[in-house]
Every structure is written in C-alpha cells, then in structure tokens.
Amino acid sequence: MSRWKIGGFVLVAIAIAAVAYGALLIRDGFSARDNPSAMEAYIAKTARKLSIPASERDAKNPFAATPQVLSEARAHFADHCAICHGNDGSGKTEIGQNLYPKTPDMRQSETQNLTDGQMYSIIHNGIRLTGMPAWGGPNKDDDSWGLVLFIRHLPQMTPQEMKEMEPYNPKSAAERAEEKDEQRFLNEGKAPEMKMKMHH
C-alpha cells in the first residue's frame, strides 16, 4: 500500500473519530454539570501546557513571600478569586463546583506542581473555554506574582488568615443585611422579621 493511501486512511479515520466525538457531544448536550472526560482533560491540559512559551514557564517570581506581600495577596484573592476558588483554595464554592470544568483544589499537587511561571501565565492570561478569566492587562503585573505566592502558601493557611480574608469577600447588600440580622440575634436576641428572600 502506498504512503498516500495510508495517509488517506489515517485522515479518514481522524475525520470519522471527530464526527463521532462531535455527535456524542451534541447527543449529551452542552451542560456544565458533567466532568470533562479523561481524553478532553488530557487534550486541554496538554494544549494549555504547550501554549505557555518556555521563557514564561521558567520565569521566576520577582517577589519574596514576605508577610506584607502575602497579606496583600490574601486580600486580593479574597476580593477577586474566592467567589469561585474559596478563601482556602479548595474550589468548594457554589460557582466553582458548577463550572465546566469545576475549579480545582489548588492545595493539591495538580496545581502546586505547576511552575511559578505557569501559575502566573494562567492568572494573567486566563484559560480559554473555562471559567478562568484573564486578570492581567497587556503588560506584566505584580499582583499576579503576589497571587502565585499566595497559592503556594495555600496548603499552610491558618484559620486566622482565613478569618482575615472574610471582610474582603464580595457581598451583596442583601447578604450584608442578613449578616447584620444574625449578629443582632446572637448579640441581643432580636430575631429579624420574617421576609421572603429571592435566592438562586
């Protein structure tokens, strides 16, 4: 069999596989409830890895993990990231667990084994077709390097550090009012009036 014929068969096989995969996707719908298949996760992770140039992957964090830098990064993370990732980086949040793919537990090796440069690139540029937005502008940014240090610190987070993050978590006016109601009840025994709340 000539090389052209073999090449032709391979191309046809790839086309059939692609059509079959597309048909499966359409049949199963585009719901965000499922987990990516092992193949989809492998392709996506490989593509992400390849998309980060070696110079960026091997870049070293220009900042040291000083208490000041970590404190600022904690506040930044609580304000911008925790709504999906959680203050503890576990990803166990309502949004995080309903995204496709679900937000990872960043305390685990899958995240911790990334290089500083890979983490920076993910924060700065985001990841296409996931819930991860690009947080950085066109130029390099110091905040993303601070967040890399914070993510490295996640496995050693203390309850006190978690507590310090809470005031920085975004809250709606209704949530703040609810918090006040709870505070009044615990501190003064004044139960709030029953009211209907519109939550999703």
């Binding site: 309850p159 005031p167 809250k171 505070q183 615990l186 139960a191």
Partner: protein, 105 residues
C-alpha cells in the same frame, strides 16, 4: 395565584427563621435539644427545626473556632445548613457573640 400566596406563607412558617442562601438555609433560634449528631432549634416561628451535624461542620463561638461540646441547650445559635435528601445538614454553627468585621475601604 390565590392559592400560591398562602402556600408560600405556609412553607415560610414551616421552616421558621430559615433563610435560603444559595443552596444554604440559615436557621436562627435557641437550642432546645442536642444529640451527638443533631441540634434542635426553636425558631422565632416556634417551630422546632432539627439540623444534623457532620464531621465537616465548623463551629464558631464568638468568632473563634469551637466544637460541638462548647454549645449548650438554651444558647442562641445561627446555623448555616444545606438540605440533603430530607435532612438539613449543618455547614457552620455560630454562637456566642458575633463580631462582624467592617468592610475594607
């Protein structure tokens, strides 16, 4: 519509001071009974609500980490719970004095 309004009111009364927060409900009241794995709370609507505890349940007394044994019958409590099947499971149990940190500038 006429039937819906009383139905909603009945459901609200049945859960007492339990507010939904996403998938969470906030149960507020006085502890009337406790077992190793549950806390029964008398809510403002005078309905006892039993919330079950889990290994992951976090306890906070006056803003500091605590445990279930720090909680006593008669204490005022706010429980953030999630419905699992027909049971309410406690994610967080707050009691003592609650300090709300001011929002940062």
């Amino acid at each position: 519509m006429k039937r819906t309004i009383p139905l909603v009111a009945m459901v609200l009364l049945a859960v007492g001071a339990a507010f939904a927060h996403g998938k969470e409900q906030h149960v507020m009241g006085k502890v009337t009974a406790m077992t190793d794995s549950s806390i029964t709370v008398q809510t403002k609507a005078k309905n006892p609500v039993t919330v079950y505890t889990m290994a992951e349940t976090k306890y906070e007394k006056s803003g500091a980490a605590a445990s279930m044994k720090d909680l006593k019958v008669g204490d005022r409590v706010v429980i953030h719970a999630e419905k699992m099947g027909d049971k309410l499971m406690a994610n967080e149990v707050h009691f003592g004095v609650m300090k709300v940190m001011p929002a940062p500038h």
